[in-house]
């Protein structure tokens, strides 16, 4: 008997509250800006925070109110910029950046090819190791391989390969740059996805110093730049960089000729 009573009471209460809620929803609804409603679903929805807002929805709202410019969302890329511009009724510069950037570790050093100052024992964290003399490698711009970047990547794009190098899965990378920000040695760079080659060294030290501490670093010898003018390589402050957009028909030869073999085909 009691059980039946209880069921009835709960059912009636449920009905009353349900009615109340649906009434509240209709009468007290907050009217959302139609632009926000249109923007929200097209955002990537990963809430990475690169735009500087608390998440995708917050950024969409700021754009709708005209408080933020479109184009802060790097994961969305040029596609998103075009879509947002359409909704906001703005024109975007079609000549703007359309090449996608991905994260890449600019260092091929490891225990075999680079010298170490000391043996690091401590927290498995690059920033922790960096507190002690800028890491255990003698080169102070090297990848420390402790994987702080792996921990912060929102899409799990970063991992270690079989040799212990840090690699980025470029399909998964959304260019949020979180890894670049956390990396203490600045060895994580954003490079153009379409680059066929990368010069995997991060040291601006003069060649002699680099040779002392690492056998695979760029020594700034300028062989790539001078001997192979069409290699797409240029050297600045003892470090070469490769540019896909400049003529680069000789890049394969330059890579072959590089004395420390730091021009790597991707």
């Amino acid at each position: 008997m009691n059980i039946v009573m209880a069921i009835i009471v709960v059912a009636v209460l449920g009905g009353i509250f349900g009615f109340g809620l649906s009434f509240a929803e209709k009468r007290l609804a907050v009217k959302k800006d139609p632009k926000v409603l249109a923007l929200e679903p097209i955002m990537p929805g990963i809430n990475c925070g690169v735009c500087g807002y608390a998440g995708c929805a917050a950024y969409a709202a700021a754009v709708a109110l005209g408080e933020a410019p479109i184009g802060l969302c790097s994961p969305g890329g040029p596609d998103l910029v075009a879509k947002m511009a359409e909704i906001m009724g703005e024109k975007v510069d079609a000549s703007g950046e359309t090449r996608r950037k991905v994260a890449h570790v600019m260092c091929r050093g490891n225990v075999e090819v680079s010298s170490k100052g000391y043996e690091y024992e401590g927290l498995e964290d690059c920033n922790a190791a960096f507190l002690l003399f800028g890491g255990d490698y003698s080169c102070k711009t090297a990848c420390l391989h402790l994987g702080s970047c792996i921990k912060v990547c929102p899409t799990d794009a970063i991992s270690r390969d079989a040799e212990g190098y840090i690699i980025v899965d470029e399909q998964k990378c959304i260019s949020c740059e979180k890894c670049v920000q956390i990396c203490p040695t600045g060895v994580m760079h954003m490079i153009y996805e379409d680059s066929e080659y990368a010069i995997e060294c991060n040291s601006h030290e003069p060649g002699g110093k680099v040779r002392k501490v690492c056998t695979v670093g760029c020594i700034g010898c300028k062989i790539c730049e001078n001997k192979y003018p069409e290699s797409g390589c240029s050297v600045d402050k003892f470090l070469a960089t490769f540019d896909q957009t400049s003529p680069h028909s000789q890049i394969a030869d330059a890579a072959e000729a590089c004395p420390t073999k730091c021009i790597i085909k991707r």
Binding site: G117, Y118, G122, L123, N127, A128, L131, K151, V152
Partner: protein
């Protein structure tokens, strides 16, 4: 029986290991062939170089000028010439410029005349302390003239001198108290005059009964109004916060200074340096450093010029008796481990330790045992902070009082899971600050 005072919250009792260098009287280091005098030997902005390559310098001459409010002058420890200006990395990983000075064959003798400090007033004394480049010599190297400039709205009633030397191994302050006790206590009287303190109290731990007796004798003989207080041994009693709790039973709230509870705290070694600066007109260019540890052949307390390379100190002490596992600048609890013996010592180097191989422990996951919480002298929750920081939640860590951490090492000392807790705190502070 009378209760022996100490601080109440947390703390640990490491083995004091002072036997190695305890009985070695202070010895002066023979002049090294080269000195590397860094421009950043203090907390705050590095000093600005006043000399260039090739210049000659005089002993005690100012070669680096304070470059900000919290900064300190740097002086040449010798007469000689500047070979070059070089980038160096100090034992605490600080990078700065340094003068490489080659000393002359003959060095001028120390001046004989003394100054009567009683005739000088507080502000004159303070400005000479600034000119002489005095910094806190316990290791924190906070510029002394900044610490002793008391804002108008604050009143100081007590000057507390730290003669605790609670770090294991170190005996530099111990030897100073025994051998230069008169000077150090007179230095304390000078500071008391500057900060206008009515009470001067020297706290010494009970493992140094000879110091306590010796200082008490001096006080009686000279009639100084100084109290000498014996404290129960407990690490980190030498920290300002713990020392004030132990001696005056005053607690400094989070984010405040001793000044806010009407006290100024200074190290006994600093008091000695102040005496030498004011009375003997000697700028801070040399200090006593304990070279000790299981692996040092002849542990000693060495009076060495600032900028001496660690290798020169090691040679003077007979080198290593066995291959050390770790070299530490400072004490084993709060010091910095370093690897290059060409690293120069600075105004803050209280010790050079060469420690032998220890049993290696692997870190495991936190056991949630709470021992770190019980050991933390400022009642933080190291385990919780560790969790936040290792998960990258720096903001939460900052909101859980991470910035109050003294990096004293008590938590890591007791942790049965052997987690590198202090290293984690330091990392978290750095990243947390960057986030803001």
């Amino acid at each position: 029986m009378q209760r022996i005072p100490t601080f109440s919250k947390g703390g640990v009792h490491p083995d004091d290991r002072k036997v190695y260098s305890r009985s070695a009287a202070i010895e002066r280091l023979p002049m090294p062939s080269e000195l590397i005098v860094a421009l950043s030997q203090h907390l705050g902005a590095p000093a600005k170089a006043l000399k260039a390559k090739g210049d000659t310098v005089m002993k005690g001459e100012k070669i680096g000028e304070a470059s900000g409010f919290i900064s300190s002058d740097v002086h040449s420890p010798v007469s000689g010439s500047i070979k070059e200006i070089r980038k160096v990395t100090l034992a605490n990983s600080v990078q700065c410029d340094a003068f490489v000075i080659v000393p002359d064959e003959v060095q001028p003798a120390d001046p004989e005349e003394t100054v009567d400090w009683q005739s000088l007033d507080g502000s004159e004394l303070l400005s000479s302390i600034k000119d002489m480049g005095i910094v806190g010599m316990g290791g924190a190297t906070f510029p002394a003239h900044v610490k002793f400039s008391i804002p108008k709205d604050k009143k100081v009633d007590s000057f507390v001198v730290n003669g605790v030397e609670c770090e294991p191994y170190l005996t530099a302050d111990y030897r100073i108290m025994l051998e230069k006790g008169e000077q150090a206590l007179e230095g304390a009287m000078i500071v008391a005059k500057i900060v206008k303190a009515e009470r001067v109290i020297v706290g010494v731990e009970m493992n140094k009964p000879d110091c306590i007796d010796h200082l008490k004798e001096i006080v009686k003989e000279k009639g100084y109004p100084i109290e000498i207080v014996g404290l129960k041994m407990k690490y980190p009693q030498g920290d300002e916060k713990q020392l004030l709790k132990a001696i005056l039973n005053r607690e400094i709230p989070s984010g405040k200074l001793p000044l806010d509870v009407g006290a100024v705290v200074s190290n006994i070694g600093t008091c000695n340096a102040i005496y030498e600066a004011i009375v003997l007109k000697k700028s801070l260019y040399e200090r006593v450093i304990s070279v000790t540890g299981e692996c040092i052949a002849n542990p000693k307390n060495v009076l060495a010029p600032v900028g001496t390379k660690m290798s020169d100190l090691l040679d003077f002490c007979g080198g290593f008796s066995k291959e050390p596992e770790k070299l530490i600048s400072g004490g084993p609890m709060m010091g910095f481990s370093f690897f290059d013996t060409e690293t120069p010592m600075t105004k803050g180097s209280s010790g050079l330790l060469a420690l032998g191989a220890q049993k290696k422990y692997r870190s495991t996951a936190c056991l949630n045992c709470g021992r770190c919480v019980a050991a933390c002298p400022i009642a933080l929750m190291p385990a919780k902070l560790y969790r936040y920081i290792s998960n990258g939640e720096y903001e939460e860590a900052m909101n859980t009082s991470l910035m109050d951490c003294k990096e004293c090492g008590c938590c890591a000392y007791v942790c049965p899971a052997h987690l590198p807790l202090v290293h984690t705190m330091k990392t978290g502070k750095k990243l947390g600050r960057k986030k803001k």
